[in-house]
Point group: C2
Amino acid sequence: MSSFPGNAALRLPTPYLLFLGDSVEGGYAKTAFGLRDWAGDKCIAEYRLAPGTVTAGLPMMSPAAAYAAGARALVIGVAPSGGGIAAAWVPALVEALEAGLDLVSGMHVRLGDVPQLAAAAAKHGRALIDVRVPPAGLPVGTGRKRTGKRLLTVGTDCALGKKYTALSLANAFAERGVDVDFRATGQTGIMIAGGGIPMDAVVSDFEAGAAEVLSPDAAPDHWDVVEGQGSLFHPAYAAVSLGLLHGSQPDVIVVCHQPGRTEILGAPGYVIPSLEETVELNLLLGRRTNPAIRCAGFAFNTGDMDAAEAEALMDAESKRLGLPVADPIRGGDAFKKLVDNCLG
Amino acid sequence: MSSFPGNAALRLPTPYLLFLGDSVEGGYAKTAFGLRDWAGDKCIAEYRLAPGTVTAGLPMMSPAAAYAAGARALVIGVAPSGGGIAAAWVPALVEALEAGLDLVSGMHVRLGDVPQLAAAAAKHGRALIDVRVPPAGLPVGTGRKRTGKRLLTVGTDCALGKKYTALSLANAFAERGVDVDFRATGQTGIMIAGGGIPMDAVVSDFEAGAAEVLSPDAAPDHWDVVEGQGSLFHPAYAAVSLGLLHGSQPDVIVVCHQPGRTEILGAPGYVIPSLEETVELNLLLGRRTNPAIRCAGFAFNTGDMDAAEAEALMDAESKRLGLPVADPIRGGDAFKKLVDNCLG
């Protein structure tokens, strides 16, 4: 994958020093683990405070040592249980700013709201980057067809694997020698990609315009694989999904689904749409900005099933639907067929 | 129409003193004229500076006199040609704050960004209200079906009469004794209604939730007539339209259209959808949050046509489509039929 090109999307300083705080529970360190797994080339070291025990398996370095080794940002890789920035972390974060590192956070609370961090960043000329905050100056959409090829992951619901699927497809494209960028639309994805736009935080009037900025004109054989958000069927988040669909004007969609989920997350009484309905509605609306849009297949999240059961289901659904069905985590031939059909 | 009930939407202090600045051209005073025409009961007086000549036909009063007569806010009713707040206006606006009036503005520039206004408001404990700024603390949508009835105006494009149609329908409902609220979603509408939510300025994740807040639970025979925004077919603004459609969960839509317009505003090459397509897509998506949604008819903006031509076209289209077609500005029997079918 090429590096994130210059445009109005967020760009993060890299490589990273992963900050693990004083966590003793791995469950709070999902961001750090995601970065290790998907952006290992951007992660130089980790930094942990006593009495913490969680590790991402990277060398332990102080901020000064990490800076000397090339690091340019400390990324907060743990979600504190209270949601805010723990007081015990502040001296370490100030130390990082003093050492020449910018700070990157995906937390709801803004880094600049902690007075010691605001003061230290100002004093040392360092940036406090909240990846939940969209870049300023996003334009309204134009609908103009851009050059290059685009894939968008969409879903029957939210939180069922659209980011994981997009990352897996982008990696698979790259392994086949395809010129490809993963385009991140959520906080973890942005840290992994080193840039992107948090689409759910963009003002509605600029939603499609932000998606246009996120995947700019490119070479005819270049692919942008865009991380989907929400679902057109979600009564809370469909606006995000439609702006992203219109603005990213995908040539190809891959529909993500979790077998067995029957109700939309957070919306009691709202049934999960059928796969056929999901394809049909995404193609109907997507045609407005890209008449050539097509569905290349389905990504199932089968983490709750055993291997034989998952394989039997995906085989049967693939035959029924006439398109590849794969679980990107399980990979295998089914996933190869999905990749073939995306590029096909 | 009843007054705007208490919820998380914006609420403006009323009645108003209309500020006309030093304008000599009526074209800049659309907001003042809209308020005079649609919210005359909220407008006590007007205030004009030399050498201005524009009038909304109201009594001329100083801020102190208007306050004594009951006014509680000065509304900036003119758009300055430069877009900002003219230096010549500032002393008059400070005078209004001193007299006990809050300031209400629909301009892009924020009132609080003018240091003299920020200082005077703080000193006198007055509010500076920018109606382009959504209220804080909007929730995400739930999709829960609310009590009461709702009508939403939708469109084949933006800027073709969705606000005017909603206001006309709300007034017609009230004249028939129906308990009705006009629900404003844009800056001028918000000033007219004395409250509302600027839907295009809401962060995408909260778009449907904002629309839910805008039209809360109501008595079974109460109607909310919701001002539409954008169009599901607009490549820039469809996200706004879908969040509003899902969140307002209308029982009835009225499709607004400008005959003769062939291309979407600001999106070269995008053809205006047919009326049938527009009905079909709005009903398809609207069913997700209100399975009983129906289209009651069409509002045509025929300002460019002569009366005979407009009537002939609307008659023919009404026969072809099997639903009332009316121009709310022309009114007449056609509009009565549209109102009948909305309430029907």
